[in-house]
Amino acid sequence: MVEKEMIKGWDKNEMAQKAALDIPNGAYVNLGIGMPELVAGFVPEGREVIYHTENGLLGMGPSPEPGKEDPELINAGKKNVTAIKGACYFHHADSFTMIRGQHLDICVLGALQVSGQGDLANWSTGAKDAIPAVGGAMDLVAGVKTIYVITKHITKNGDPKIVEKCTYPLTGKKVVDRIYTNYAIIDVTEKGLFVKEMAPGVDFDFLQKHTGAKLNRY
């Protein structure tokens, strides 16, 4: 078992690539801060995808060339970005009308924990000395039609991040549709968690051993 514990599965680029393959042509997509941002780099050629950033831009492009940064053109992570041809700017209430009003197709977010029912905890560990900060996460999970989570399968301490019940404060209840981890792609359905694909070297028993909620095979 020792060597099995060493299984790394997919790296973060491969995880991002897996998620990118599930983004259809024409989708309006919001990518969360961190690993989700990598997804944009792997959308297959020929698919036109429009990226939304909640601070007021539809049609977000890649990072600017060095020296071309504009402090008034940033993304939700406050990083410099560009605007594609056909982009538009809007104010915050309109931006969250797009989000909460179910106009966006897909949101890809990171997670601290996901439950077997699709509950998501990704904004706070609930630690007493932490400064609480939520940003737009609760609005995104409440409003975007499809929520993908991209995350390591286990924590640095080896604890499962997919759990029976989240112990961290929730971002939203029953909101996650699919989870991309370094070990597997897992669908969240009314009938529970279903394993869609496993990374090379990962088998079902190994996956279940490192998952805190019951997994099912398709």
Partner: protein, 237 residues
Amino acid sequence: MINKIIKTPAEAVAEVFDGAVIMISGFGEAGSPIELIHALIDQGAKDLTIVSNNTGSGHVGLASLIEHRRVKKMICSFPRTANSTVFPELYTKGEIELELVPQGTLAERIRAGGAGIPAFYTPTSVDTPLAEGKESRIFNNKEYVMEYGIKADFSFVKCQAADRYGNLIYNKTARNFGPVMCTAATTTIVQARKVVELGEIDPECVVTPGIFVQKVVEVSNPADESKLVAENRRYPW
């Protein structure tokens, strides 16, 4: 003649009083009216409640206002960002209040405040700690949380260009909370990179109609907050 143009930031913020509720535009540094905030630090009003998405960076702008102990309470969605140390330190010591609001709920509460809507229901935050103690209601078999509109005594907003009627256009993602904040304050004070003649802003392209703006001051070369933070500058200079 209607002329909302004020000569200096100091004159523009002169009437701010102790205990005022002030909305401050910006998402990080983009759209933050740093010269108006600095004028307010000089002016001295205290016990303020500030509505703004973040709490500022370094020791300039909103972070400096907080550092000068002028702010009693922050209403915001994300009080800790890179280079934000002033607010976290005071909050940890229990010396500043925080009302944490999801970002879309914050925007909508401001929009509602400006639109004469006292409260509304939203799906955001249902079943989370941020819904605790709030009224909720079921519509079409789904639960929604009631949130109140917010109004302010003053809004401080940064824009790209303004005319003497107070019509405004913005610059890229620096628009963010500006347009909704303009609608929600008794007195909206705007710093514009450029003051233009009437008619120079195409009526089809006006983002904030002048009726929502009371005062405009031209600040043609606004400070670049991230540069000030990188140079570890402190206000007052």
